[in-house]
């Protein structure tokens, strides 16, 4: 997983820098960069190389998507041949047709919008609150000493256990759901930010101090940039949580949203519509994660593995 994530990044970084001219005799000092698996090189555009690359890409595509294609095929075929009951597991094609219908002139966009607003609000608020708090805890020892026990208690309290409390205090409206997402998303961001600040290489701090940097500049020019990759890892995890936990809240008490759609269609036996909801959630989660992964990669190109 780790090298699959980093390989294309290395490839593009390398090709961007390739035209750079090396002073003669110095090029042998260039650190050996691990050969990227996928390298969109500009220079090797001869037909044979192109063909070879296409073949390699194709074989990679087959390897990577094989399991998914198998799942989709099974979903289509097994209900048709009677392994699954078609009523409970309709073939994929039927679900997709229903999904398309719901998307064009059904309630799907409305539910999607409701869910997105809740998750993004909770997620955004978590970023706005947890990053500064994490920086404070990571940087100021007294703050860490004072807050760590309390945070440990809450961290080990499942958000699901607190949902009834949020509902009691904040009502069954949007506020309690957004708070619920905010709570669940805060932990990965907070903990990663704290560890990002705490694990800054001491030598870098020493080096910056030797150049006369005061505490504020030191924080701004060394601690913060050094912690950025860790913070983004937390943000990406939180992004996944924001959708996962929201579904639960919407299943417990809501009149709109994808979680409501899934539970409501199940209980009123509109099974293909239920699957349409599940497919939407799955696609949404994947897209969101992909987007955050892109952003994360952009901010941590310097991080060596």
């Amino acid at each position: 997983m780790a090298d699959r994530r980093s390989a294309p990044a290395t490839g593009t970084a390398l090709s961007e820098r390739e035209p750079l001219e090396l002073p003669t005799g110095l090029d042998r000092h260039v650190a050996p960069v691990a050969a990227p698996a996928y390298q969109p090189s500009v220079r090797t555009s001869r037909p044979s190389a192109l063909a070879r690359r296409t073949r390699r890409l194709a074989s990679r595509a087959v390897t990577k998507s094989g399991a998914i294609l198998l799942l989709l095929a099974a979903w289509e075929v097994l209900p048709r041949v009677g392994v699954f009951d078609r009523v409970f597991v309709p073939p994929l094609s039927e679900d997709l047709v229903v999904w398309y219908g719901l998307l064009l002139d059904g309630p799907l966009p409305e539910h999607l919008q409701a869910s997105l607003i809740r998750s993004l609000s909770g997620f955004g608020l978590a970023i706005a609150l947890a990053i500064p708090l994490g920086l404070l805890i990571g940087w100021y020892r007294p703050v860490a000493d004072a807050l760590t026990p309390l945070l440990e208690v809450f961290r080990n309290t499942s958000p699901v256990a607190l949902l009834p409390v949020f509902t009691l205090i904040l009502g069954i409206g949007e506020t309690s759901k957004i708070t619920f997402v905010l709570y669940a998303c805060s932990w990965p961001i907070l903990l990663n930010t704290v560890s990002g600040v705490k694990t800054v290489e001491p030598l870098l701090i020493k080096s910056a101090r030797s150049m006369g940097l005061g505490p504020v500049r030191l924080f701004q020019k060394v601690i913060l940039p050094a912690a950025v990759p860790a913070i983004f890892t937390g943000v990406r995890l939180a992004g996944a949580y924001s959708i996962l936990v929201l579904l639960f809240a919407e299943m417990v008490g809501a009149k709109a949203g994808l979680g409501y759609l899934i539970l409501d269609t199940q209980s009123s036996f509109r099974i293909p519509e239920m699957y349409a909801g599940i497919i939407t959630i799955s696609a949404l989660g994947l897209l969101f994660n992909l987007l955050l992964l892109r952003i994360e990669r952009r901010f941590s190109t310097w991080r060596t593995t």
């Binding site: 650190a31 020493k206 030797s210 150049m211 940039p225």
Partner: protein
């Protein structure tokens, strides 16, 4: 006294440094009674057995820690904290991995509030000085160890300190890269006229680079002897010169007893812990 005071750049006066060790009853005396004058524009090599407090002494001169007793003066003014009049080069480079070579060199200039355009020019100039033209936009992880250390040297030179403090800067490099960097450092020193304190555990390196070699005792560290090193000519293979061998042997003899003493200390510490 008055004549030497004029040319003394760094004065280390009866410096003592004691660390309070956690859980241990007795304090840890790293340095005791260190007296050393470094002349203006001098290249001073500092050798000593491992754990003798060489790096502690460098931290004190850098102003990163304060001496328990005694004082350190630079140009007659006591050191009270770190400053851009001194640049440090560390063994592990200490480059900021999120900054390119160029931006790393600019770091000290930003701290000095040099305007952006001048920053860029000075960084380019100093990267050129260490032979890294064309590598400005590389990140540290894209550079070899030798090149990273060149960037670190360029960074320390760029903000134009009077004093360069180097803590075993070439220890992590392979022999060939080390030799070429040694030569380059001498060239740069010649060109810039900086005062350099160069810590090393290599006797050859100390004799090759230093105008004087200060030998430290084992812990608690103090200066055992300062050896003046002078060659009639540095042309050719200096290390093969019989005079080089004599200096080398002299420093080696001074160090041998201290290294043995340091090993006894280490063993004692290990057994008392175990």
């Amino acid at each position: 006294m008055t004549t030497t005071a004029v040319t003394t750049k760094i004065g280390i006066r009866d410096v003592r440094k004691v660390f309070q060790v956690r859980d241990a009853g007795e304090p840890f005396v790293a340095l005791d009674g260190v007296d050393l004058d470094v002349r203006e524009g001098e290249f001073l090599a500092l050798v000593g057995p491992s754990g003798c407090g060489k790096s502690t002494l460098l931290d004190l001169v850098a102003g990163l820690t304060a001496p328990t007793a005694g004082e350190i003066v630079i140009d007659g003014t006591p050191v009270t904290g770190p400053g851009l009049d001194r640049g440090i080069v560390f063994q592990q480079y200490a480059l900021f991995p999120w900054r390119t070579a160029q931006a790393n060199v600019e770091f000290g200039l930003e701290a000095k509030a040099v305007p952006r355009r001048e920053r860029r020019e000075r960084a380019r100039h100093h990267l050129d000085l260490v032979g890294l033209t064309g590598f400005e936009e590389r990140y540290p992880h894209e550079l070899s160890g030798g090149m990273r250390q060149r960037v670190a040297i360029a960074r320390s030179l760029a903000f134009d300190p009077d004093v360069l403090l180097m803590d075993e800067p070439f220890a992590a490099l392979d022999a060939q890269t080390r030799e070429s960097l040694q030569e380059e450092l001498l060239r740069i020193w010649d060109k810039t006229g900086k005062t350099i304190i160069f810590i090393t555990h290599g006797i050859d390196e100390a004799v090759y680079l230093g105008q004087r070699v200060a030998v430290m005792t084992s812990r608690p560290g103090t200066i055992k002897e300062v050896v003046e090193v002078a060659f009639d000519s540095r042309a050719g293979d200096l290390r093969a010169d019989p005079v080089f061998g004599e200096y080398r042997h002299h420093v080696w003899t001074l160090l041998r007893d201290e290294v043995a003493a340091a090993q006894v200390l280490e063993r004692k510490a290990a057994t008392s812990r175990g």
